[in-house]
Symmetry: C2
Subunit: 390 residues, 2 copies
């Protein structure tokens, strides 16, 4: 779609909602190409420019989007006002490029709604206590939207994305996958960390905390999407979704002394390198040594090995290495809290498909397994079939 | 020059000035192509979008320039902070797209200077009492710079342009034209209205009012430019500059009744159409009628005729018409206040060149004549020779 067409598409969604009698606040992010252009300009001049100036630069992106959307809404004949982050009352922490919303003073939004205006707010941005522009970092615009919905006790916070909702599995890969009508906050959080990047975790966490009902839906098809809400309000399904995360590296350190404090010694070094560890597997000690294997994001595998090299040399470990030739397959569902057998069903499906499980991790509402990357798509099919197609 | 190169050029001017021990506040405007892009986007969506939203959109342009310039200054290793109009304390009237600066609260600029930071301020913009972003309209960035210089009692306000200063005539046309070391505010004002658009009048008027010394110079050559200051402080030259304005239309209404109130009836109609009139010539009455001729900006000629049509019909005027086939040639110089004979010298030069004068207008420091457009360049040469090359 051309830029203008895309803007009018959003404008029509907004004005249709307004015509139904709703007070409408719409939070927009910058157009992707605008942001890319700005980053390119900055990199040409100074790739190490300060984050403060980077926030000043990038926040111009939403400023452009909100004013253009407001003009489109004016063109459709509706009363509208656009507001920058600071005008909309977004007060944030001082950390540039990764600020956290501290509060939203919604007086100005409320005043505009009282005048029956549509309010277009710049997402992703706010001001800190120095009255400097800050940006919220990844997923910032979704978080801005949820923050406004929470502050104003909105009935619903709709998040328009390029997908129609949350599916039982990736519909591009699994033809039998279907869209869920609803999902709990916790399930959504597990799915987000599993690589099904529909919503950013920060926005879901905030929605959960303030009990804001979300709906994930597509701005193109405008069909009902997936509601994200409290568990108490919904019918229980055993499992909601099967997710695949290919951006995983498995790090192994083989033959370390089998003595107390090993895990601490290893993972404190990894943490110091700012690397998040996901699944951890520790072997039973044998011959006075044991093996430790863990997963990290795929782009951190090498760094994790570097962080541990000195330690491995010191204790005379037999081997220290990593591979990205793995994938994590997970099933998520709040229903499994009260039902045993979900893990067993998943393992059975994988066994039937002759897929070897390397590592296992479970939480109250999730079972994850690490398998060879080449088996990943077959694994998702097999597990989806077991839970949803029987 | 490439964009980045241009930004670094400005950054070096700024840091060189800082290295000399000066407190430096630099006011920047948007890059022309950024503004053009934004206007094009707005026009695609809604050519009649509100001015409020247009200001919101366009002010993103300076936001981009200030942050990029700040990053360039950081790259050169100097402490810097960029400030938007509202952060720099620009409070304006409420009129979107043509706001007037009401005051500048310079606390934040001062605080940054006290920390020995270079301060990069977004020109052209401010906020009004509704806390909405406003833009200042034409020449806005120069005016912003002068307003800061005035508020902070700066020693000097340098205005970097694409010319090296103010010349005795257009140096592209008159090879003998030379750069003036200094010029008075009033002379500069006359020159600006005469089509020598080096500085916008609003900024010169403000500089005059608050006695801010200006320097007009080129950001490329970095040679000393032309200082604009109080008359008392400078050596008198009879005439400072010869200017040509080709954007003129001459409107004539022939054969209107020779009775009191004619001028009022005509010019009140022109004023109601928001058309500025420059030179006016009223013939001596003859046969109970007279002729009135006046000049307006060339794009207003047709509108002026339209505004007068009803009146012309009513009084049975013989003819109402306009032509843009004219040019205005002027000499400007505070020196002529105390010297007679400037007008005569100019007329003599034109007569020697066999150029016919259609209309004459004089002020204390200016003589203007209207001539045929085809004679304009020859006229400037002849007049420049008479005043500067003898």
């Amino acid at each position: 779609m051309a830029d203008a067409e895309r803007v009018f598409n959003v404008a029509r969604i907004v004005t249709d909602t307004y015509k139904e009698g709703n007070d409408v606040v719409v939070v927009v992010s910058a157009q992707g190409d605008t942001t890319d252009d700005l980053i390119e300009k900055a990199n040409e001049i100074n790739p190490e420019g300060s984050k403060r100036e980077m926030d000043m630069l990038l926040s111009a992106g939403e400023q452009i989007s909100i004013s253009l959307l407001a003009m489109a809404i004016e063109k459709l004949g509706f009363p509208v006002v656009s507001l920058l982050g600071w005008q909309a009352g977004f007060q944030t922490s001082s950390v540039y490029s990764a600020a956290r919303i501290k509060r939203v003073n919604t007086e100005r939004i409320r005043a505009a709604l009282d005048k029956r205006r549509i309010v277009v707010v710049a997402g992703f941005q706010g001001i800190n206590r120095y009255e400097d522009i800050t940006t919220l970092g990844r997923g910032g615009s979704d978080t801005s939207a949820v923050a406004i919905a929470a502050s104003m006790h909105a009935d619903l916070c709709q998040i328009f994305t390029d997908v129609e909702g949350v599916y039982t599995a990736d519909p591009r890969k699994i033809p039998a996958a279907f869209k869920l009508e609803e999902i709990t906050y916790d399930e959504m959080l597990e799915l987000a960390t599993l690589g099904a990047q529909v919503l950013n975790n920060r926005s879901v966490e905030m929605a959960k905390k303030y009990n804001v009902e979300l709906e994930v839906l597509s701005s193109l098809t405008r069909k009902p999407g997936t509601k994200v809400k409290e568990a108490a309000k919904m019918e229980k399904m055993l499992v909601k979704s099967v997710a695949k995360d290919s951006h995983v590296a498995r790090v192994s350190i083989i033959g370390v002394p089998d003595e107390p404090g090993i895990a601490f010694k290893i993972f404190s070094r990894v943490a110091k390198a700012h690397i998040n560890v996901d699944i951890i597997l520790q072997s039973i000690g044998r011959d006075g040594t044991k093996d430790i294997t863990f997963t990290v994001p795929d782009d951190k595998g090498k760094e994790a090995v570097t962080a541990l090299q000195e330690y491995a040399d010191m204790v005379g470990a037999k081997n220290l290495s990593y591979t990205t030739d793995v994938a994590k397959i997970s099933v998520v569902g709040a229903g499994m809290e009260t039902h045993e057998g979900v893990a067993a069903m998943m393992f059975e499906a994988l066994a039937d498909a002759n897929i070897n499980i390397q590592m296992i991790s479970t939480s109250e509402i999730k079972v994850s397994v690490l398998i060879a990357a080449e088996d990943a798509d077959r694994a998702v099919s097999a597990v989806h079939r077991a839970f949803f197609e029987m």
